[in-house]
C-alpha cells in the first residue's frame, strides 16, 4: 500500500522512467537495426551536441514563439468573434457555414498556397496557425456564451446591469472554462501546424531541423528533436494551465476539489 502511494506521488517520473527503460530495453535487444533505434545515451548525446552548437535553442525558440503568437492571436480572435456572435445573432448564423467549410481544411494543404501569397516569413506562419486554431476557442466560446442560464442573465437585468455589463461580467466569466478547454485543444493543433508548416516551407525551426536531420540520417538527433517536440507541448500546456488558473480559479476550485 505504501509502495502504491509512493508510485502515485511520483507518477510522472515513474512514467518517464518506464518509457526510457522500455526504450533502452528494445534498443539493447536490437529488435530493430541499431542504427535506426539508438539507445538512450546516444539520443542524449545527440541532444547535448545540438544544445551546445546553439541550433537547438535557436530552432526551438522560433517554433515555440510562432506557436505561442499563433495561439494568443487565434484565442483573441476566436473569443472576439464569439462575443460578436453573442451580441449580433445574425452574425453568428452567417458565420456558421464559414466555420463548417474552413474547419476541415488541413494546415498542410494551405501551406503551398499561402507561400505564394504571403512568402516564407512570419506572415505565413501567423496565417496558417490562426486559420486552423481559431475554431476550438470560437466554437466552444459561442456554445458556452449561448448556454448561459436564463436565471443568471435575468438576475443581472434585475440588478440594473446594461447589456454590455451582462455580456462581460456574467456571460463571459461563465463561459471561460469551456473557452479554456477550446484553447487547450487549439494549443495542440497549433504545435502540429507550426511543425508541418516548417517542414513544408523548409527554412528554419524544429520542423525543418527534423526533416534535415532525417535526410542526413543523423538518427539520434531526430529522436532528440522528437523529445523536444513533446516537451514543447508540455510547456505550452503548463502556460495555458497557469493562465486558466488565474482566470477561472474559482471554477477549478469548485469542480476539482475531489482528489
Amino acid at each position: 500500500m505504501a509502495l502504491e502511494r509512493w508510485i502515485l506521488r511520483f507518477r510522472s517520473l515513474v512514467s518517464l522512467a518506464l518509457i526510457l527503460a522500455v526504450w533502452q530495453g528494445v534498443a539493447m535487444l536490437e529488435l530493430g537495426p541499431r542504427k535506426y533505434f539508438p539507445p538512450i545515451p546516444d539520443v542524449a548525446a545527440g541532444f547535448w551536441s545540438m544544445l551546445l552548437s546553439g541550433e537547438l535553442l535557436a530552432g526551438d525558440s522560433l517554433t515555440l514563439g510562432r506557436a505561442l503568437v499563433g495561439i494568443v492571436g487565434s484565442s483573441l480572435i476566436g473569443i472576439g468573434l464569439a462575443l460578436l456572435g453573442e451580441m449580433v445573432p445574425a452574425f453568428r448564423s452567417a458565420f456558421r457555414p464559414i466555420a463548417a467549410i474552413v474547419q476541415p481544411i488541413p494546415p498542410a494543404a494551405l501551406v503551398p498556397m499561402a507561400i505564394f501569397m504571403l512568402g516564407l516569413g512570419f506572415k505565413l506562419y501567423a496565417f496558417v496557425i490562426i486559420l486552423v486554431t481559431i475554431w476550438p476557442p470560437y466554437l466552444n466560446g459561442a456554445a458556452a456564451l449561448a448556454a448561459v442560464g436564463d436565471v443568471e442573465v435575468k438576475t443581472g437585468r434585475m440588478l440594473g446591469l446594461s447589456e454590455r455589463d451582462i455580456l462581460f461580467r456574467i456571460k463571459l466569466p461563465a463561459a471561460w472554462p469551456e473557452i479554456f478547454a477550446g484553447i487547450r485543444y487549439a494549443a495542440t493543433i497549433s504545435l502540429i501546424a507550426v511543425v508541418v508548416a516548417e517542414m513544408l516551407a523548409g527554412r528554419d525551426g524544429l520542423g525543418f531541423m527534423l526533416i534535415r536531420k532525417a535526410f542526413a540520417t543523423r538518427i539520434p538527433e531526430v529522436y532528440a528533436l522528437m523529445f523536444v517536440c513533446a516537451f514543447n507541448g508540455v510547456v505550452l500546456n503548463a502556460l495555458i494551465n497557469l493562465l486558466r488558473w488565474r482566470i477561472t480559479g474559482w471554477h477549478m476550485r469548485m469542480t476539482e476539489r475531489t482528489p
Binding site: 507518477r11 457555414p97 474547419q103 481544411i105 494543404a109 527534423l210 526533416i211 517536440c229 507541448g233
Partner: protein, 255 residues
C-alpha cells in the same frame, strides 16, 4: 413559417456570398494567375474533378484504414487501462506526453522503418487517430459510475464480461467524442503525410499544382478536401445520433 425559413436561409448565406464577392473583386484587380478568384477556382474544379476525385479516393482509403487500426487497438486498451487503476495512473503522464508529440514529427522516424509507401502513411495516420481515442476511452472507463461495478459484481460477471457489457457501453458517449476528433485528425494527417512522403493522393495533387503555378487547381483540391471533411463529419454525427440515442434521450430529459 415559410418566411422564417427564408430569413434564416439568407442569414446563413449572406456572409459567405459577400466574402466570395470581395475575393473575386480582389482577384480581378490583382489580375494574375497567382491570385485566382472563386470563378477561376470553379473553372479549375470543372476541368480537374475526375482527377481530384480519383486522388481523393487514395487519401480517404488510407485515412479509413489507419483510423480503423487505431480504433481496434486503442478502445480495448483504454478500457483495460481504466480497469487496472494503478497501471493506468502510472501510464497517464506517458499518454499525455505522447499526446503532445505532433504526428508530423513522427514522419521522419516512420520513414526509416517503413519507407514512403502506403504502410508508412497508414502507420502515421493510425498514430494520429490513436491519441484522442486512447485518451477519451481511458478517461471514460476510469470514471464509470461505481454502482455500475456493483451491478457487475451482483450479476457475477467475469472481468472480461464486465468490460464488454458495462465499461464499453458506459464509455461510448466519450468514445464518440474521441472518434470525432480522431476522424478529423486522421484526414488531416493523411493529407500531410502525402505531402511529405509523396506518392499519390490529394496532398500530392495539391503540391503538383502549386509546383506548376496552377494555384486555382490547388484551391480546387482544397475545396474537395473541405467538402469531404464536411460529409464525413456529418456521417459520423448521424451514426452518433443513431447508436447513442439513449444517451441523448437521457441528457435531454435531464435539462
Amino acid at each position: 413559417m415559410k418566411r422564417l425559413a427564408d430569413k434564416s436561409f439568407w442569414n446563413a448565406v449572406w456572409l459567405p456570398v459577400a466574402i466570395l464577392a470581395v475575393w473575386q473583386v480582389l482577384a480581378m484587380r490583382a489580375h494574375t494567375p497567382l491570385f485566382p478568384g472563386p470563378w477561376q477556382t470553379l473553372l479549375a474544379i470543372s476541368k480537374l474533378y475526375p482527377q481530384i476525385v480519383g486522388q481523393l479516393g487514395f487519401t480517404l482509403s488510407r485515412a479509413g484504414i489507419g483510423f480503423l487500426i487505431a480504433a481496434v487497438l486503442m478502445v480495448p486498451l483504454g478500457i483495460l487501462l481504466g480497469r487496472l487503476k494503478l497501471l493506468g495512473k502510472v501510464l497517464e503522464p506517458a499518454i499525455d506526453m505522447l499526446a503532445t508529440l505532433p504526428p508530423p514529427a513522427v514522419v521522419p522516424i516512420v520513414m526509416l522503418f517503413a519507407g514512403t509507401g502506403d504502410a508508412a502513411k497508414i502507420v502515421i495516420i493510425a498514430y494520429a487517430a490513436a491519441v484522442p481515442l486512447l485518451m477519451n476511452t481511458y478517461e471514460a472507463s476510469r470514471t464509470v459510475h461505481p454502482s455500475a461495478n456493483l451491478v457487475a459484481r451482483a450479476l457475477h460477471l467475469t472481468k472480461l464480461e464486465a468490460m464488454l457489457h458495462i465499461d464499453l457501453p458506459a464509455a461510448l458517449p466519450m468514445i464518440a467524442t474521441g472518434v470525432r476528433l480522431a476522424v478529423s485528425s486522421a484526414l488531416l494527417v493523411a493529407v500531410t503525410s502525402e505531402m511529405l512522403l509523396a506518392t499519390n493522393g490529394i496532398g500530392v495533387f495539391i503540391q503538383r499544382q502549386q509546383e506548376n503555378f496552377q494555384i486555382s487547381g490547388g484551391l480546387a483540391g482544397i475545396a474537395f478536401i473541405s467538402l469531404a471533411g464536411l460529409i464525413i463529419n456529418s456521417i459520423v454525427f448521424q451514426f452518433e445520433k443513431r447508436w447513442l440515442f439513449w444517451h441523448y434521450r437521457n441528457a435531454n430529459s435531464k435539462g
